[in-house]
Amino acid sequence: MTYNSSDNHESKWEKFFKWVNGEQALDSVWEKELKSKILGKRQKRHKSIEDVIDKINAQSKKIYIFFSIIITVTYIGILLYTAVLLPEHGNELNPTNNEVSQRYVENGVNDTGAVNAVSAMILEYRAFDTFGETVALFASIICVAILLKKDRSNLCPQEEREYIEDEKILNADGNGILKFTSRLIFPIVILYGVYVILNGHISPGGGFSGGAIIGAGLILYSAAYGDKNLKHIVNYNSFSKVVCGCLLVYFFSKGYSFFTGGNHIKSIIPKGTPGNILSGGLILPLNICVGAVVACTIYGFYSYFTKGDI
């Protein structure tokens, strides 16, 4: 049996489906058929092929848009009706305010030693979720590295040129305002990020927010001064070591606590006095690890997106 490629006998619906399936662009769907039809009539009507194709495209798009709008509007209508039936906003008697949240608030300090109930919840009670979320971040930076790292399959001459131009601009004496301001702000930003990370268990904040702040600071510095100054501290080697090392610390400390918890062994980690900086058991070291991972990841995203390398 042979597989002859014959696209000529497809009906309009099949072509429409092909477009929806992403196998064909809308223009090329109609092109073949129309060319033969229109070429004959060309002398009579003074229309170009493109015009007709555009017209049909517009029709197909209209059908698609019509159905999308109908689907979304029905969907939103149903959801709005659901929202009306849901519990009242801000009411104390809602089902969400049950024994679970009560224990987090009332016993959280005794159970974990952390004053911030949200930190206690995400890093002690429901730590597996948070571990999963850090792994998701890690997976995405690895994906970005696969996609954007400069190598044989990812080279673009125009980009190279732009990059060299950027370097020239950075090395020139311009950018006075940016450089001055970032010199002023950079230490404050980093300091604030460190503060947010270290106080994650006694005030609002934590590893993710603090790490994002530090990452933003690094991006600011790199944008103002170029990456040359950062290159000897932040390169691929140190980057992967920091990220993987911090993740490993996280992995082993949480693994220890899961293992002891699952086997009903008492954990040996002291909880400290609630409210002090050295309290909350594992929460502080975990926040530091998460902060380092997030800061590296955010900076990594930036430098992969701009230069294709760290």
Partner: protein, 503 residues
């Protein structure tokens, strides 16, 4: 210190953490060969551990809870494992091991050397998140690991870095995010009306809500939306558009893993949520099972029809996956315990069959010298006997010939349909039609592969290099296929036990 309870209970936790450990360590290795060895070693260890777990739970007939941390059910995360989970994790690790081992030369060819270790990071994390989806007892953990699964599967798809694979990844990611939006919305609504996230307590409060009749409509919407979200993620028929492009463009090991395992892990999570949260009776009452029965039946037929129209073998296999997903959803849609059990068996049989088909096709495409699409695989069977035989075995198994794996699950699907009288006729007719269609779309490539070669054909000049790992993997796949096809009764028994314990 004495462990206060059984050591075997640590296995679910250990397997998830071992797989994720592999993912975290691999970037430090930075060498494709070593990372592959580490990945395969860890997978083998996890497989052995799961086998131990299977013996343990099957012997004791138990389903146990492992508390992740020091806080039990309504407060902390939990894992739960029983016979069903153990069988699935054994299957998953074996298939993962063989798919990577069998396709390793193609992986080396397809992916740049510097990026191979990163590819194995993705595979490790993918495996870890699939295991977490199998074992988890917490709906929000399920959501987080679904997302990891999505990111990693997209990473695995785009590893080949051709323009086509990028485009396929974009489609895949858009569909996946739509699906996870629906899932997250339904999880949020569930939390709002119950205040719980752990399966055990969710079920109790949902039972209370159903009995008292409060929040009736939101619950129906939630169940429907969760099902739709998972259906989008697992490419049930109207949402299948992301599959063919993705499977066609990526390396064959990854397509095998994606179609055989990743999509199935979402369905397993769905089944767990059905049993541990909503209960089948409630889903039957609100007619969600009818919806997925209908979509599954459509998928069975239309997936096969699309496969029949397709000329490129890899795309044909992708459409065939759509049809097989339809079988699984039809089994669940029957709304009976035996139907779900048959669907589980179909998950296993399809998982051991599809990756074999993919790696055999990849190998045959690789050694072929023909340039045109029409005659690409002509007579290749004589040049690489293992690949040819593997493809034929896979095809026979998908069609559902006795002695092969696919037969068992189809038999049970047919038996299961007798237990739901209103759907019986439709289910049986659909099974018959789609079996014929399966045979029809597999005949052309099989005939093509075993076509007699004349001297004028380019393929007659092939002198293929012998690849031991590929041959071993395919032979093991064939052996497993026969094993499942002959000993299906005992596997079905374990699933029945698992379903009984999960209720």
């Amino acid at each position: 210190m004495v462990l206060s309870h059984n050591i075997a209970h640590n296995i679910p936790f250990l397997s998830i953490f071992l797989a994720i450990f592999g993912g975290i360590v691999t970037p430090l290795i930075n060498d494709g060969q070593k990372s592959r060895r580490l990945h395969m070693f860890l997978t083998a260890v996890i497989g052995l551990l799961s086998l131990l777990l299977l013996f343990h739970v099957n012997f004791n007939q138990e389903r146990f809870t492992f508390v992740m941390g020091h806080f039990p059910s309504p407060w902390g995360n939990e894992l739960k494992a029983g016979p069903m989970e153990a069988v699935l994790s054994v299957t998953f690790s074996i298939v993962m091991l063989l798919a990577v081992g069998g396709g390793k030369d193609l992986i080396e060819k397809d992916i740049l050397y510097e990026k191979q270790s990163l590819y194995y990071v993705m595979l490790n994390l993918l495996f870890g998140s699939m295991l977490a989806l199998i074992y988890t007892n917490d709906i929000f953990t399920g959501y987080v690991f679904i997302e990891i699964n999505t990111i990693c599967s997209c990473g695995v798809i785009m590893c080949k870095e051709s323009g086509k694979s990028m485009l396929a990844t974009i489609r895949y990611i858009i569909m996946s995010i739509l699906g996870s939006g629906l899932i997250l919305f339904s999880i949020a609504t569930l939390y709002i009306v119950t205040g719980h996230l752990l399966f055990t307590h969710l079920k109790m409060s949902i039972m209370r809500l159903i009995n008292s009749g409060t929040y009736d409509f939101p619950l129906v919407i939630t169940a429907g939306m969760f099902t739709l979200g998972i259906a989008v993620k697992s490419a049930l028929f109207p949402f299948h558009t992301m599959l063919p492009g993705a499977y066609e463009t990526t390396s064959v090991s990854s397509s095998g893993i994606l179609s055989g395992l990743v999509i199935k892990s979402y369905i397993i999570f769905l089944i767990k949520v059905y049993y541990c949260v909503f209960t089948l009776e409630y889903l039957r009452d609100i007619k969600v099972t009818n919806l997925i029965f209908f979509m599954g039946a459509c998928g069975m037929i239309l997936g096969s029809v699309m496969a029949l129209k397709e000329r490129r073998v890899l795309r044909m296999l992708a459409y065939s996956s759509v049809a097989q997903i339809g079988y699984i959803y039809m089994g669940i849609g029957l709304g009976t315990n035996i139907g779900v059990t048959a669907a589980m068996l179909h998950i296993v049989t399809h998982a051991v069959t599809k990756p074999m088909l993919f790696i055999c096709t990849g190998r045959m495409k690789d050694i072929s010298l023909e340039k045109t699409a029409n005659h690409r695989l002509k007579g290749i069977g004589y040049k690489d006997i293992t690949a040819g035989v593997g493809f034929v075995v896979g095809a026979l198994s998908i069609v559902g010939i006795p002695l092969f794996a696919g037969f068992a699950s189809k038999l049970y699907l047919a038996i299961a349909s007798f237990y739901s009288p209103f759907k019986m006729a439709v289910a049986l007719i659909m099974l018959a039609i789609s079996m014929v269609l399966n045979a029809m779309y597999f005949i052309p490539p099989v005939v093509d592969i075993w076509h007699t070669l004349s001297d004028s054909d380019a393929n007659s000049k092939i002198v293929p290099k012998f690849i031991p790992s590929f041959n071993v993997a395919v032979i093991l796949f064939i052996a497993i296929n026969f094993f499942v096809g002959i000993c299906y009764n005992s596997i079905f028994g374990i699933f029945e036990l698992g379903i009984m314990l999960i209720r």
